[in-house]
Amino acid sequence: MKGALKPHEAAALIAPGASLMIGGFMGVGTPERMIDALVTRGVGDLTVIANDTAMPGRGIGKLVSAGLVRHLIVSHIGLNPETQARVIAGDITCELVPQGTLVERIRAGGMGLGGVLTPTGLGTEVQDGKQVVTVEGRPFLVETPLKADFALIAAWQADYVGNLNYLLTAHNFNPIMALAGARVIAEPDAIVPVGMIPPDAVKTPGVLVDHLLTGAFA
């Protein structure tokens, strides 16, 4: 069994300047308690790899509002005007990546692949500076793998060995990011005894998870 950490103990593992993959889509399936602890601790200069930055006051939006983010690799910031303003002002650098490409780059990083070949972005700004290869007569962009120092995952249930499952649209990037962080911290709603999550229902095997946060009501 892995020891369950309080949010402030988990945040203490993360040093300023770290790269973080953070699960979630508009704040749904985002490890909120973990983010609150990072804000409290004031861990800054972060690189955040995520689908989006949610909105002010929610999820990754809290890290942005607290001025803790230096670089973003995301697909969308349109619903967070504060992130947009900081990017336009140059306070945050931002690499915008098509969502399907972003998740595949993370998957490649986590699964030991040298990158991804995708037609998405061909002939657009996204192609700038990238290699194009032709496979079976079709052109593809070469997109590089992504990894991070930490993956911060939100799950529904975890068991004592760290097996995770997810609910509905709170899956999103979480199961993919769980492969691509050098250290994986999972924040479940609840921790249940081993055996409560049937093997067929496990979406992220516990062997990938380094630390569990205590359950939401612990």
């Binding site: 889509f25 749904v28 619903l79 990017v87 915008l96 969502q99 490409t101 657009t124 649209t169 999103n172």
Partner: protein, 217 residues
């Protein structure tokens, strides 16, 4: 029709056929679902991870784990499936999605869409739009014909392209326009709108067939 957006949504809904898997973008395109009869057996995909998106839940019945791509609370229909983002975009990019309906900032004379960035002013990001336009079997742009007096159907996009792929249909508050190798063909007029009014509101050249009927809504 109560307003221009409903008119566009109702006309787009007519393009949706029985049993399709359809992705609707944030904003105006999301209104389309309200004009598709349940009996059509259509599954709507939200790219954040559900196939079988349903209506808004009753007040007090929201589930924080079930939202659409705009972050709004939704329900799921019987037969729905929840999926992660890799599966979601595998469906989109892999040719498994029958149709996507997206908003637009500009469409050019070649039928190419720009909808993700206004350099220096607005950088919302492409989100799933580039994958959707690249991978969906059919791409429909649903947008106002003009913004601030400027035509959104232009000779050449001044804004960054979403994809070089030609979209399949443009539905606006004034017209239905079909891009093809020949150019942009004016297919239908909105109720009470003349061909001359459409031409005056359109920067790109339009091909005019003999018969240009009113939309049947």
């Amino acid at each position: 029709m109560s307003d221009a957006k409903d008119l566009i949504a109702a006309r787009v809904a007519q393009e949706i056929k029985h049993g399709m898997l359809v992705n609707l973008g944030i904003g105006l395109p999301s209104l389309v679902a309200g004009f598709v009869p349940e009996s059509l057996g259509v599954f709507f995909q939200a790219e954040n991870g559900v196939i079988g998106l349903g209506a808004r839940p009753p007040e007090g019945m929201q589930d924080r784990h079930l939202t659409d791509a705009g972050g709004g609370f939704v329900t799921a229909v019987p037969g729905a499936a929840s999926i992660d983002s890799a599966m979601s975009f595998g469906l989109i990019r892999g040719g498994h999605l029958d149709m996507t309906v997206l908003g637009g900032l500009q469409v050019d004379a070649l039928g190419r869409l720009a909808n993700w960035k206004v350099p220096g002013k607005m950088v919302p990001g492409m989100g799933g739009a580039m994958d959707l336009v690249t991978g969906a079997a059919r791409v429909i742009v649903a947008m106002q014909h003009a913004a601030k007096g400027q035509s959104k159907i232009v000779m050449a996009c001044t804004l960054p392209l979403t994809s070089t792929r030609r979209v399949d249909l443009i539905v606006t508050d004034l017209a239905v326009i079909e891009p093809s190798d020949a150019g942009l063909t004016l297919r239908e007029r909105a109720p009470g709108i003349s061909v001359a009014e459409i031409l005056a509101a359109t920067e790109a050249p339009l091909i005019l067939p003999e018969d240009i009927p009113e939309m049947r809504l």
